[in-house]
């Protein structure tokens, strides 16, 4: 049995079928890309997996455990990390404190009303920042970070509780092309080292084709194609609804 097992996931909003009968599997150490046109249901799918929305039907099993019906914070406790399309960090804290907060929460100390938060788990937080190449910025204020650094900080936060699965919503959105590839390369290394399963959405096809092991293509809420990136790329239906003539990315246009 695969590590993450999604079966017949469905959700509609006011009669519009946002996600219809989506099933897929994800194994440990695998990088799976979820792609598709805008409004295809990618975000809805993510929100269903992470417990922000409740599906009309379907099942999501992580290592045999049903996640449907759990709140996001419970899902996180079962070893699922998350990064956001638009970074969600604590702007009024320093960089290292952002990571410390995740560690404090993991240790069940978030309502501890004594002692200084900035003294807790600082070493582990620093080593996580080191992992993503942010150790030199640990004590800077988060609200002055460059966007690419915020994305890396998010990765460090998501890794704080040694997740078994990571959900990354457009991890490279808003970054420069080379930064994008570098961030995904970093992610791919961590995945390989730690055996984490990663599901990510992405609009940058260069990133997808370079780093994803497999890809799912969603269109109008339904699974249009699934397979290795080369298979997906060569799929005529995918080209029609999503990839187009390939003039706007990668070697196609260069």
């Amino acid at each position: 049995m695969s590590f993450l097992q999604v079966r017949n996931l469905a959700k509609s909003f006011g009669g519009v079928q946002a996600v219809a009968d989506v099933s897929f599997d994800l194994g440990k150490g695998e990088l799976l890309a979820l792609i598709g046109p805008n409004g295809a249901g990618k975000s809805t799918c993510f929100n269903l997996l992470y417990g922000n929305l409740r599906p009309d039907s379907g099942s999501v099993k992580l290592d045999g455990l049903e996640l449907i019906g759990l709140k996001p914070r419970r899902i996180w406790r079962h070893g699922v990390g998350r990064t956001f399309q638009i970074t969600a960090t604590y702007g009024s804290m320093s960089v290292v404190e952002n990571v410390q907060m995740a560690l404090i929460s993991d240790a069940g100390q978030s309502i501890r009303a004594y002692g200084r938060a900035s003294n807790l788990h600082r070493d582990k937080a620093l080593s996580l920042l080191d992992l993503v190449g942010m150790a030199d910025q640990a004590d800077r204020a988060t609200n002055v970070l460059a966007y690419g650094d915020l994305k890396r900080l998010e990765l460090a936060i998501a890794l704080a509780h040694d997740p078994k699965l990571m959900l990354m919503d457009e991890p490279t959105a808003g970054m420069a092309p080379r930064e994008r590839l570098a961030l995904m390369a970093l992610t791919a290394n961590i995945v390989a080292d730690r055996g984490v399963a990663v599901l990510f959405t992405e609009h940058d096809m260069d990133v997808v084709f370079e780093h994803a092991h497999r890809a799912l293509v969603l269109n109008r809420g339904k699974l249009l194609a699934e397979g290795s990136v080369d298979e997906v790329r060569a799929n005529a239906a995918v080209q029609e609804v999503y990839l187009g003539g390939g003039t706007t990315f990668g070697e196609g246009g260069a």
């Binding site: 598709g36 805008n38 092309p177 706007t248």
Partner: protein, 235 residues
């Protein structure tokens, strides 16, 4: 003839100095790309032109008139249309109501648009006229935001990252739309990170980095200078 000219503008957000002596000029009927990484100052340049942020110094001239320091609505009435990066359609309003918000009187020196003409340019919008903006797909919203701006009959439009976050197939459609607008005689300034897309539509390019203009030249010249692309665009 010069349509828009920025001369040494400096823009701040609070105490942060974002744009440093930025200058550029765009001729009538040109399509010009403003390239640069995220955070390089592209959006701030756009907002400085339309007046959503006010440059602290420098001049912004449009059709021979100084527009720097005017509020956005006056700049719009002078003939500049602004299409923001985040699209910012009115999600509770219907498609046609969205267009109504953008409607301005026709002007003699710019292509004139009506709801009917825009429906020809964007057939999807006609089909979805009574739908609320929030019910449209991402691609349709992108079309609506351009149509809404065209309702103001601008002489020039600012397109802030039109290809960001939309599917490649819609990006191709967007390129065709921009080419169509150029044929109509519209002047276009678009900000981009996607060089492939910029190449499809623009005549010239500026590169901005850290709030400073680094490069200016034709699209063809830029293609011959991989070192410049490497240095400022990281690609």
């Amino acid at each position: 003839m010069t349509m828009l000219e920025l001369a040494n503008i400096n823009t701040y957000y609070g105490s942060a100095h974002i744009l440093h002596d930025v200058s550029l000029e765009i001729g009538s009927g040109e399509v010009v790309a403003l390239l640069g990484r995220n955070g390089a100052g592209k959006s701030t340049t756009m907002k400085s032109i339309i007046g959503l942020v006010r440059p602290a110094s420098g001049s912004v001239r449009f059709s021979g008139r100084e527009i720097g320091g005017m509020p956005p609505y006056e700049i719009c009435r002078n003939g500049i249309g602004y299409v923001p990066e985040e699209r910012r359609i009115f999600s509770d309003l219907t498609v046609f109501e969205n267009l109504e918000v953008g409607r301005r009187p026709a002007r003699s020196d710019a292509p004139s648009w009506t709801v009917e003409r825009l429906c020809e340019l964007f057939p999807n919008l006609a089909e979805r006229r009574a739908n609320r903006g929030g019910q449209l797909s991402g691609g349709e919203q992108q079309m609506l935001t351009i149509a809404r701006t065209l309702m103001g009959n601008p002489k020039m439009i600012l397109l802030d990252e039109p290809s960001e976050g939309i599917a490649p197939v819609i990006v191709e459609q967007m390129a065709r739309t921009i080419q169509e607008l150029k044929r109509e005689g519209l002047t276009v300034l678009l900000s981009e990170q996607n060089l492939h897309f910029a190449k499809l539509v623009s005549d010239r390019a500026f590169i901005i980095e850290s709030g400073t203009m680094r490069y200016s030249g034709t699209m063809a010249e830029l293609s011959d200078q991989p070192d410049i692309r490497e240095k400022y665009l990281a690609m």
